[in-house]
Amino acid sequence: MIELQNITKSFDGREVLKGISMAFEAGKTNLIIGQSGSGKTVLLKCLLGLHKPDGGKMIFNGQVLNEMDDTASRTLRREMGMVFQGSALFDSMTVLENVMFPMQMLTKKKESVIREAAEEVIERVNLIDAHHKLPAELSGGMQKRVAIARAVVMKPKYLFCDEPNSGLDPKTAIVIDNLIREITRENNITTVINSHDMNSVMEIGDTILFLKDGIKAWEGSKELIFKTDNEAITDFVYSSNLMKKVKEVYQ
């Protein structure tokens, strides 16, 4: 479980996060949604330890990340997996090497054991035939699946995804969403996903945090979105005609 208590963050005097408090539960897919510039990415980078918040606490199962020294935070980060928006796969490595990489760097396990673990995860994301391909030879959806495999190969307690289905067609996006949800439930991971894709919200949004101008404007589940009267979230959700029609049908 991850608990955020009154997180604030500013850049050059501009307040980007204004006192965010939230709890992300294990075994659930927790979504952070909001318009571009609402502070989603900054919040995610704070959670990853890539930005240090100016105030507040980020508590990972009782450990306060932003009060740790470098060594301790690096150790905690080894319990995290991250799927970057652009996948961030290592260009010069094959799919198998990319997935084996965290274990090679962070464990002292035998090469054969690491290989076996990596192959198991690659099989889990249905990429068994792409072992020896380089990232440049893969489609966007395949790259995302490799990134997921690399993120979960170390069996993390926390999984973070930044716009995991951006740039993907709707069908592939659903495959990626479902894969993340299944892995989250199978391994009881605390998953936090940054998204502005309403399909993802409706597909996998167990818990949703809606940010607007750096403020927590709403929180709830995907079921509650259609019932809420909160102006901020309704403005965001029903900005497209498709979602307006979905609401009509739902009601």
Binding site: R74, R77, R78, M82, Q85, A88, D91, M105, L106
Partner: protein, 219 residues
């Protein structure tokens, strides 16, 4: 880490041998031709061609100018490869995994670049060989005169001096481009800009350090 170091040796050192061999041989040839054409006089010994070629190659061309040439080749490779990793969030990925990205990316490059004196050694040898070939085939001097010239007033400390400054330049070649790649901000266009800035700064620092080291060791 060992695998990374070997990979960097392959990319930075072995990958540079081609250009080093080519440039050294021909620059050595040009130095000897220029020397031969400009010292034509009855009182100037013919062995001066070999002497001047050796001194030019050992003292300056191989260690200093080859390092500046490598600032273009190796330096831009380092900046652009690390910069691309920064732009594509690969460095963030390393950090999130709990890996010290600076150590992972820069340390193997520093270790690999410590082999630069070997490259410079090859450059010295081929420069003198190029000078010899140009002298003999151009008919400027005899083999005996050239060999006598390259042995004339030889001071082993000059080679030591060349290797000392090569080691210093090697550290500059590994660190300045790494810094510009690692701390760059922006997109693909900025990777190119960072590589250019890194080359300029690496060259400037090499030239300044060359002056300081020469002042300290040879005067």
């Amino acid at each position: 880490m060992r695998r990374l170091i070997f990979q960097e040796i392959q990319d930075l050192i072995i990958g540079s041998l081609g250009i080093v061999v080519f440039l050294s041989f021909f620059v050595g040839g040009v130095v000897s031709i220029q020397t031969a054409l400009n010292i034509d006089g009855p009182f100037i010994p013919k062995n001066l061609v070999g002497f001047a070629t050796r001194q030019s190659m050992v003292l300056e061309f191989a260690p200093t100018f080859m390092s500046i040439i490598l600032a273009g080749k190796v330096g831009s490779f380092i900046t652009s490869s690390i910069g691309t990793m920064r732009v594509t969030e690969q460095i963030d990925a390393l950090e999130v995994m709990g890996i010290n990205s600076l150590n992972y990316l820069v340390f193997p490059k520093i270790i690999a670049m410590l082999l630069l004196p070997l490259v410079i050694n090859i450059s010295m040898f081929l420069g003198i060989l190029g000078g010899y070939a140009a002298t003999i085939y151009g008919g400027f001097s005899s083999t005996a005169d050239f060999i006598e010239g390259i042995q004339l007033s030889f001071q082993p400390f000059h080679v030591v001096y060349a290797f000392i400054k090569t080691l210093i330049f090697a550290l500059v070649l590994a660190t300045i481009p790494s810094y510009h790649g690692y701390f760059m901000k922006g997109g693909a266009l900025d990777v190119g800009k960072a590589a250019t800035v890194a080359f300029v700064w690496t060259s400037v620092v090499i030239i300044v350090l060359n002056y300081i080291v020469t002042q300290l060791l040879l005067t």
